[in-house]
């Protein structure tokens, strides 16, 4: 399809990007934390992808390449906002110690139906958004967008080991934040089960 677009059938670009619309937007959102800014950055990323399509070599998967462009676009906008220095204060280097999870004695599964509630969706979204960016970007790529470890490492330009370490910390941070909150927010069914 890429060859056909480069050959002049430019309308095919619409079809080419359709499967990646969500992924690119969410990547931008996880950085910019504002829906209008994320949408604008996502549009710009797709436009840049179109303008640079001839440079896509096919060594990476197209989706991975697109996400890299979105990531660069979002990072560059963050730099413009001048908030990068503030955010870096939250970031722990790879060498720092482990993250302790929330200690529980029991966990009754929260079913996906709980996501029908806006309150529960907001808890999850806010928790992911609150992660320091080096953890948030890895989590977003691996656990939300379901990229594999190699693809996430390629997009972020870091080693596979660093992806695993950051992902582990991101997951533990989320467990620490969310496990107590979810237990409180979805108590009905479990109040009986735990009694």
């Amino acid at each position: 399809m890429i060859a056909a677009i480069l050959g002049g059938d430019v309308q095919l670009f619409h079809e080419l990007i359709r499967p990646y619309e969500r992924r690119v937007y969410l990547m931008a959102l996880s950085f910019l934390k504002s829906e209008p800014d994320a949408e604008d950055a996502a549009q710009e990323a797709f436009l840049k992808a179109y303008r640079n399509l001839k440079n896509f070599r096919g060594e990476a998967r197209f989706g991975t390449w697109l996400v890299s462009i979105a990531l660069n676009e979002a990072r560059s906008r963050i730099r413009h906002r001048n908030t990068i220095r503030m955010e870096s204060l939250d970031e722990s280097p790879e060498t720092e110690g482990h993250v302790s999870p929330a200690l529980l004695r029991d966990w009754k599964e929260i079913p996906s139906e709980a996501l029908e509630r806006k309150e529960v969706r907001s808890l999850l979204e806010d928790a992911v958004t609150s992660l320091p960016s080096i953890y948030r970007e890895v989590f977003q790529l691996r656990d939300v967008e379901q990229l594999n470890v190699n693809e996430a490492a390629e997009v972020l330009g870091i080693s596979i080991g660093a992806v695993k370490v950051r992902l582990h910390r991101a997951r533990m941070m989320l467990q620490k934040i969310l496990a107590p909150q979810l237990k409180q927010a979805v108590p009905k069914r479990r109040r009986w089960a735990w009694s």
Binding site: V10, F13, R22, L29, P101, R121, L124, H168, R171, L178
Partner: protein, 81 residues
């Protein structure tokens, strides 16, 4: 070899991704069999990963796709003019 809870926590992510070396996986599993705290941490983490991966959590803004393709159309027309 017996490992304590803190060491098990360090391996939970690898355990969920099924990429631990065989000997470590066995140690973690053995620990999980008798430690209700680590089992609850594992279960809650797994549950949270399932929930956050659900498309309902991160929703696209209404009309996002239409606006994107309209802007692309403008660009395609501009370039071909």
């Amino acid at each position: 070899m017996v490992i304590d809870c803190k060491h098990v926590w360090e391996h939970l992510s690898g355990y969920l991704d099924a990429n631990l070396p065989e000997d470590v996986r066995e140690m973690v599993e053995k620990h999980l069999q008798h430690c209700e705290i680590c089992s609850a941490i594992l279960d809650s983490t797994r549950n949270i990963l399932i929930l956050t991966a659900d498309e309902r959590v991160f929703e696209l803004p209404l009309g996002y796709s239409e606006r994107l393709h309209a802007r692309l159309d403008e660009e395609l027309r501009r370039i071909s003019d």
